[in-house]
Amino acid sequence: MSSPASTPSRRRGKRGRGSNPPTPQDARSPPSQRRRTDDATSTGDLQPMPTSPPAGAQSPSAPDALFSSPTQFRHSAIPLDFDISSPLTYGTPSSRVEGTPRSGVRGTPVRQRPDLGSVRKARQVDLHSDGPAEDVVATEQSLGQKLVIWGTDVNVASCKEKFQRFLQRFIDPLAKEDEDIGLDLNEPRYMQRLQEINMVGEPFLNVNCDHLRSFDENLYRQLICYPQEVIPTFDMAANEIFFDRYPDSILEHQIQVRPYNALKTRNMRSLNPEDIDQLITISGMVIRSSQLIPEMQEAFFKCQVCAFTTRVEIDRGRIAEPSVCKNCNTTHSMALIHNRSMFSDKQMIKLQESPEDMPAGQTPHTVALFAHNDLVDKVQPGDRVNVTGIYRAVPIRVNPRVSNVKSVYKTHIDVIHYRKTDSKRLHGVDEETEQKMFTEERVEILKELSKKKDIYERLSSALAPSIYEHEDIKKGILLQLFGGSRKDFTHTGRGNFRAEINILLCGDPGTSKSQLLQYVYNLVPRGQYTSGKGSSAVGLTAYVMKDPETRQLVLQTGALVLSDNGICCIDEFDKMNESTRSVLHEVMEQQTLSIAKAGIICQLNARTSILAAANPIESQWNPKKTTIENIQLPHTLLSRFDLIFLMLDPRDEAYDRRLARHLVSLYYRSEEKMEEEYMDMAVLRDYIAYARSYVNPRLSEEASQTLIEAYVDMRKIGSGRGMVSAYPRQLESLIRLAEAHAKVRFSEKVETIDVDEAKRLHREALKQSATDPRTGIVDVSILTTGMSATARKRKEELAQALRKLIQSKGKTPALKYQQLFDDLRAQSDTAVTKEMFEEALRALADDDFLTVTGKTVRLL
């Protein structure tokens, strides 16, 4: 984007359509002069562009002939049907008036397309009444007849023919089942669309430019470069086919073709003077929309003296009021009749760059959009949209009477098509818009990377390189970033199966848990970062608000819903209050959020992975206690985490030494050096995004066998000691982890190695978090029931011992509390705390063996 004037190609006139000064000669010339050659001077204004193929050199006399006798030229050289195909007939008021039956091409009224430039239309109408079609220049080529719209290389007839062929024949080879419900994929796609128009009666045909490009590259290029000329041609083509097929169909107005998904520009920042008057697609967020502006298209004047009426079309935003009545020659007798004037709707919208497209440290750009007719009020502020339209630049005149011009152009986009990118957020997954666009080279690089043997290690070490070691935790988070495959069991009544992996990090303060969370939050596009201390249930879920302007109830989404399809990082998980935490139960298993308040009952999707960090209650991790005891979280919540990691400060010399070296290196090595060593954050991000959207691994036969074995093994280990060491939830976790690992390899199949790694990681996490501190045995029940099996056993034993003790005392109806406690302590070979004693008493009371009243224990 550096100094734009340096390229010679820009030396040609680039300016908006409406910029023609009101000289008659200029008005006749089509507005686009972009392709005009440098030697085009004032006299050679009408030279066709040299690039018009195939015989580039046209006869030099052609322009002159044209100029002098356009009428004759037209009649001689143009076949009769040109009348219909010419863009001229399109949009003339004559066609609106004629044709009494309301069907067929002729009968259906044409609606003006202000999105393509209303100024132009106005000129054409005037010309049409004179007869000659000066707008369209026919250049007689030596080889056959070639009609080219002036200033472009567009031949109307062939363009129309090509587009008709496209409509009739195009079958999307890449179409997926779910994309278009109700379309037969093996039939021409757009013919079915036309059929739809016939049934529904909405006269708009949306055409994906990508389809057009794969069908006819040249036609696509023409559409991009000369949308103003080509789109009307497309309209004609579509209408001809439509009314050919459905001659009796009655539409509100003729079909308008709306191309979308032009690949020319994706990013607002890359718009430059080259794009003026071209078809572009950009994405962004609507930040403001204006009120509806009625724009006068045609004014209706009536003479106050003789009642003679006349119509005046808008010309560059102005109506030239006739000062003299043509009929009676009275001056200043013409009055505007508002009711009979024609207006069209118009709306100004401000679009802001989406945050993903922005370079760091700069503020977002904005661009103005003009929406016309039924595109008005289609979007609201806050919507993310992809806009297809024509980029315009208009000079600002300081004052119509002063010749000085402000040297700046105003730019805007005339909207042709909107596509909301987040409209489906609340309803279903819109994968297509989710996808980031990857260039082919990028995909190649990523695929190359994925073939590396150590890709898993490589990626995990690229994750938060400033955090030292904790390899397994990083691997766990990496798998979380990739996520499992989405499965749908709705038809079997099980509903959606969770694909997201939840991870809890707990451990000593100062072990860079927050830093990991920050890193993840910065890495993923849909990340949310909240702190348990500061968030309320409302802030996490959604709340209903009354819009101050409309007095409407509006649902505002919170962090969990906002991170749908992303990761929600929750720091200080333990400090969250009870009611807030309870919200997470639903989110973490069902992946939905139910809301019932203020007359709104709904269920929102919250398919978010949760990465939480919790500090131990006693500020330092007590290795003598279980995880539950250390962090005091309800086990119902804990069991919903696939992996729970302990981040402890290991106390051994070798670790200290490595840590010291790592830290010292942080403090003096230059940044470039550090960059080299690890994978770039951008590559990592792309890698993950690609895998998430394109790789969907399924379990292979072999892998499922391994999984079954692994699960059975886990169950077996526990059953040997009379406890359960695995639940179906653990099996689900294993499957998710294995799938995520397969995604890391870009593999469509989950294989044994994936399951092995999943098993290892799962075991590793269990070993850390579910080890019974008393016995040193891994025990899942710590997480699932909140108490280890041995602890439960001990409790029972103590109760039995107490019962025996009491029984041994003989028939005393009442016992002193303190006495009993001391006796039990004296008898027991292990230390008995007061709590344990009370628990035992309670257990016996439950058995109706005794009751405790105050300081005495009574037997029953």
């Binding site: 100094s3 680039k14 002069q33 860079s512 010399e653």
Partner: protein
């Protein structure tokens, strides 16, 4: 007019000359920049260029070359403009080519018309930045940079009479200061010529200022707007509009805001960058007339911006002048005592000279700060380390090199912290004292946010340039309730300290802007804000009259010494630093040893901090590598500091 001075006074004639010579091809633009680059390289030429920071706009000649030291506060949308255009004389049909670069208005003679459809027309793109003077810039920075100009003004007087008029006026006053209260002693010829522009200018200023009643912005500092011209006027113009908020990050700031039009490589500039721009000043009154006249009735295209947006994006040129940039450079620092660019040959000698006398300067500075901190030399040592700290790198999210110091144990009367701030202000080029009161937290705007109605970034206190010293005064905090804004503000402050970033509020989403701000927290007990290192102040002397004591301290230090302190602090921040393998090994051993002895209290965080202290300790002595002695000294300092904290804990019982 002498032609030597043309490039200063009438740069358009130079551009026109170059343009006319090279017109068919487009490299005239490059030649223009090269020409001016050459001119400014000549000895002291940069000082001849009048600076918008020091001279009020109306003393400067329109369309002359000016410079401006500023911070990018906001970036507007790119503009397309006519780079080259052609005018036609309808009578003779003669065509003339003009350039539109560096101009706001495409000019043409009275008998000519602009032919926008000419094939010669070139459309180009430029970017507009909204720039404000560096927020919190210390008074001495302004003074010194102005004085340098004053000294050199002898040679300039011939070249720029208006500038001279201002300088002579300033000299008439006892001390040159930056508050603009021009007393016109002399009116030069150009001034008279200028007068015909003035009525319109004055009118706008009235419109901008005199009617503070109807404030749409909801009373966002209407007082900020005190520009000198409006002071004495009380006329109320009929169609008055609310005063324009010039959008300075800090309350109470003065100085010109500027629309800077950048023509080259604007992608390399970021929000909050400090720039020095050389460009052509444009105060064409036409720019403001565009807004006054309700042109929307004429052309629907014009009404696509709201009135508010128009006001913000094209404010009256007399209030917010435009600068069309010919040369722009990012500044590493804004200290006028240092050469602007440290990589050049001449500046290298400057650095070596200064480094040779570094240790006495350090000793003096330590002594000075010890006195300022009531005789506490340990705290003074840490304060030096804090003042030369800077974020030198970022490892993914972790900023390296930030050293936030929490100076606890400050006496509760605010005079001490206030005076401490005044001393810091004398030493660093940019600073701000944030008084943490409930009132301040709840009512001031810390986080910049986007105003979509006006389409601009409304600034906040935390929008500061790199290396600004932010002194947070927590001794002012009383018990009370923070409301939502207050909580947001405290969170933002905490994030700033921990991650050195501020999340700007774009209402639909947030955007993260990295920053590099030195935060010093003064508090009574431990601060509620996070910090890298807490130093408990142990005053050795309690002066009976704090104010007198502090003032005498400042007057006692020689100005030349003060300047040396300033150079010292700015220069050391920019030095490189490394650790040899040998010392790395020693540090490793040390750490392992420490962990062995006391695994509970020595953590990775301690190592982080000690490494930081060692880094700044070495740098403060002018050493760019870590030596074994420095490492030991750093450990010693840390031990002293910790012992003090322990002691404090014991004294206060359960207070942490």
């Amino acid at each position: 007019m002498p032609c030597v001075a043309d490039w200063l006074n009438n740069p358009f004639s130079i551009v026109q000359g170059i343009f006319a010579q090279n017109v068919p091809n487009s490299d005239w633009e490059k030649k223009v920049t090269e020409y001016f680059k050459e001119k400014l390289k000549e000895n002291n030429a940069t000082n001849w260029v009048p600076s918008l920071n020091d001279v009020p706009v109306h003393y400067l000649k329109p369309n002359s070359l000016v410079k401006f030291r500023c911070m990018v506060q906001d970036m507007f949308d790119p503009e397309f403009y006519v780079g080259v255009y052609e005018t036609v004389d309808p009578n003779t049909n003669a065509r003339v080519l003009h350039f539109g670069k560096y101009r706001d208005v495409a000019e043409c003679g009275p008998q000519q018309e602009i032919d926008l459809n000419s094939s010669q027309t070139v459309t180009s793109e430029r970017q507009t930045f909204y720039c404000v003077p560096v927020p919190g810039e210390s008074a001495w920075v302004k003074e010194i940079s102005f004085l340098t100009e004053l000294v050199l003004s002898e040679s300039v007087v011939v070249l720029n009479p208006q500038f001279y008029a201002y300088i002579s006026a300033s000299q008439a006053r006892v001390s040159p200061s930056t508050s603009y209260t021009p007393s016109r002693h002399k009116r030069s010829y150009e001034d008279d010529e200028d007068m015909d522009l003035h009525p319109s200018k004055q009118k706008e200023q009235h419109m901008g200022n005199s009617c503070s009643g109807g404030d749409i912005h909801g009373c966002v500092e209407p007082k900020r707007l005190e520009t000198e011209a409006s002071a004495g006027h009380h006329l109320i113009s009929p169609n008055c509009s609310p005063p324009l908020d010039l959008n300075f990050p800090l309350p109470g700031e003065k100085g010109p805001a500027c629309l800077v039009k950048v023509y080259e490589s604007w992608d390399s500039f970021k929000v909050n960058d400090v720039l020095e721009v050389y460009g052509i000043l444009s105060v064409d009154p036409v720019l403001s007339i565009v807004n006054n006249e309700e042109s929307s009735s004429l052309d629907p295209m014009d009404c696509m911006d709201t009135a508010e947006e128009q006001r913000v994006h094209s404010p009256p040129a007399s209030l917010v002048p435009r600068i069309h940039v010919i040369l722009a450079q990012k500044l590493q620092h804004i200290n006028p005592l240092l050469p602007a660019c440290l990589n050049e040959e001449e500046s290298k000698t400057f650095v070596t000279n200064f480094m040779s006398e570094l240790s006495p300067v350090r000793a003096e500075l330590l002594g000075f700060l010890t006195h300022a901190l009531l005789g506490d030399s340990l705290a003074a040592e840490y304060l030096i380390l804090h003042l030369i700290s800077t974020v030198y790198a970022r490892r993914d999210v972790l900023p390296l090199g930030k050293f936030t110091v929490n100076l606890s144990g400050c006496p509760r009367n605010s005079i001490f912290t206030e005076h401490l701030y005044r001393i810091i202000q004398q030493l660093v080029p940019a600073s701000y004292r944030l008084q943490m009161t409930i009132e301040n937290m709840n009512h001031s705007r810390f986080i910049p946010h986007k105003d979509y109605a006006a389409n601009r970034l409304v600034s906040g206190v935390l929008q500061l340039a790199s290396n600004t010293s932010l002194v947070v005064d927590e001794t002012q905090l009383e018990q009370g309730q923070l409301d939502t804004t207050g909580v947001h503000n405290v969170t933002a402050l905490g994030n700033l300290i921990t991650w050195q970033k501020v999340d700007y509020d774009f209402s639909y989403h947030q955007m993260e802007f990295p920053c590099n701000i030195n935060v010093l927290i003064t508090s009574e007990g431990r601060s509620l804000l996070p910090s890298d290192c807490q130093v408990h102040l142990q005053p050795q002397i309690i002066p009976p009259n704090m104010e007198e004591y502090m003032n005498s301290l400042l007057t006692a230090v020689l100005p030349s010494m003060l300047n040396k302190f300033r150079i010292y602090l700015s220069l050391l921040r920019l030095l490189d630093y490394s650790i040899s393998d040998e010392v790395t090994k020693a540090v490793e051993d040390d750490f392992v040893e420490m962990r062995k002895n006391d695994p509970e209290s020595v953590t990775a965080d301690d190592l982080h901090r000690t490494l930081l202290v060692a880094r700044f300790l070495s740098l403060s002595a002018g050493q760019t590598t870590l030596s074994r002695e420095r490492w030991l000294r750093a450990k010693q300092l840390e031990a002293l500091r910790k012992a003090r904290l322990q002691q404090q804990k014991c004294v206060n019982g359960n207070e942490l």
